[in-house]
Symmetry: C2
Subunit: 343 residues, 2 copies
């Protein structure tokens, strides 16, 4: 089984964007607020909306995508706490419906109703609701300000109530920022990658996993700059008198394979322990297009992994399936459910 742990719903129907426009227009003029959260989307319309993802799964040879709302769409920095909550619930409900309609193809991960400067306690009710809906994890935004980084680091006790709930429910988080309102940071070319690097360094500096030995984070986009600078991070850890990375972090921190060329993927497999690498493509995501150097889609990351000759069968199983089952413990129940439904 090939599990792609990083897919966002980036082919949303126009009705969702129309709702969002009205919702945000309503901040300026309450008369423009949407009058209902019923988008009028039938099950057929939702299934139609993910046909490209299904076709890519088939073409590229993956089975199950861990599926969450569009990352740049979360936009926690926009609007009020109430807006964030309404938008989050609506976005998660669409993910829930799609995944329950196509449970062998998609397993749900939710966004959280974060807002800059607002305690993550605010997210607990939605987390509980997601658990009830069968979600297998959440996306946690380490910078709800959208590029100004005004909230505390991930190692701050500020975040602990959320971590307690995550651990209690066996819910891991992918650390994923949303769009940037800082003109210095292109979203997918700078802000995403910087956030990955930043999160790893925060975790290296701190001792969070002493307090939460069961907490699990996935750092997407191959861990930002981290594998490329693996020597730097090993050296900085030593200078800070931390235990080796394997002991200090790597029972809790995992990387996906959203790195869009073969040399990058090969580097990852050379420096990052195979237990910490989870297959992902972020399909259909940030980089859409065919690499003229290979004639294949940039984000067809399975091809790159297939080319790494040094990976044995056990390593491939871990990257494509085993590690995902380990990091997302609730995935087993989802897969079981999907099989029973199919039977």
């Amino acid at each position: 089984m090939i599990i792609d742990i990083h897919g966002h719903y980036t082919t949303e129907p126009a009705a969702l964007f129309a709702f969002r426009d009205k919702q945000l227009a309503g901040l300026a003029d309450p008369a423009r607020r949407p009058t209902t959260t019923d988008l009028g989307l039938s099950d057929d319309m939702l299934i139609q909306s993910v046909q490209r993802q299904l076709a890519f799964q088939k073409e590229r040879g993956s089975d199950l995508t861990i599926f969450s709302p569009r990352a740049s769409g979360m936009a926690h920095h926009v609007g009020t706490v109430a807006v964030s909550e309404e938008w989050t619930k609506l976005s998660n409900d669409l993910i829930s419906r799609i995944c329950h309609l196509l449970p062998t193809n998609f397993a749900p991960v939710g966004q959280l109703p974060q807002s800059p400067g607002v305690s993550p306690k605010n997210c607990l009710a939605e987390l509980e609701r997601l658990v009830g809906l069968g979600f297998v994890g959440v996306n946690l935004n380490p910078d709800p300000s959208g590029g100004y980084w005004t909230d505390p680091p991930l190692t701050d006790t500020y975040w602990y109530p959320l971590y307690e709930a995550m651990v209690a429910h066996n819910m891991p988080a992918m650390i994923h920022v949303t769009s940037s309102c800082n003109p210095n940071f292109h979203a997918t070319g700078a802000h995403y990658i910087n956030a990955d690097t930043t999160a790893f360094m925060q975790l290296l500096q701190g001792d969070l996993f002493k307090d939460f030995p069961e907490l699990k984070f996935v750092i997407p986009h191959g861990g930002g700059a981290v594998p490329f600078h693996w020597g730097r991070y090993r050296g900085l850890g030593m200078m800070m008198k931390k235990p080796p990375l394997a002991e200090h972090l790597l029972k809790n921190v995992f990387f996906d394979t959203c790195v869009y060329h073969y040399p990058g993927i090969r580097l990852m497999t050379e420096v990052v322990p195979v237990d910490n690498i989870l297959f992902a493509s972020e399909m259909i995501g940030a980089v859409q297009g065919v690499d003229p150097e290979t004639g294949h889609y940039f984000d067809d990351t399975k091809r790159y992994i297939d080319q790494v000759a040094t990976l044995d069968e056990e390593s491939r199983y871990k990257i494509f399936e085993g590690n995902a089952r380990h990091v997302y413990p609730r995935l087993a129940a989802w897969i079981e459910m999907s099989k029973e439904n199919a039977a």
Copy 2:
């Protein structure tokens, strides 16, 4: 000749720190301001202060280090415009003295008197002064706020007066942030690397080099996350309808080799054209210590380059000397002067 293009003066005498303490204390209590900028440092004391660098040059086999003030020491976000100007002048003067005392070992690069929200026009006088002192380049901080990124991107016309002066004087800039006052960003583990990635993406998004075809930037620390995500950047460039990287950026943007493990350096040489890679170690810098996996210093980057079997003699010449002479056109005169002095 082996030229290391990235060294900072990180072994400063205590007198410099004492001055800085007084200078910043003077913001709160003018009575504490230093009464003189004469630090009482003799030529012998300066030469003594760089003995470790000289020893490392000898041990590791480099000849000339392009030498600038401690990057984290610039701290443009601290104090006033006048403080930044005084501190910059003092810091650059020390570099000038050391490089003129040991011209075969060090060539000078200066910091700029930047301040958050203050036009880079403010830097022109110091740039002219550095030119007069024989400096071969400057360090340009893309985020004078120290981690909040409140100034405009590097492609904004805000920076143009500085670029005009740089081009007029054949002065390239290394894009290098300073310390971070944002608790989210560890300086050397997150802020530096993020700034490298951010600067590259800004340049990819913009068309700066249409306006300044002669402008040259070095992105340090191997370009942050960029080579690891080379496919992502090629793909994003295509999505933004930019010309290929080689045409759009690579006549103007160069990367150093401050990547502290062999797999990272090998990746760079595989994806980045050899004309764009400049040898550097940032010695004595961010990562001090011996890698237990190799038994050698993390920042002995020459070893990693030596290990890349695919580099032919011409490529090695470019990385170790030729590209530095190309990017720093004023270096030729410095080297000539140092030979004449030695003769």
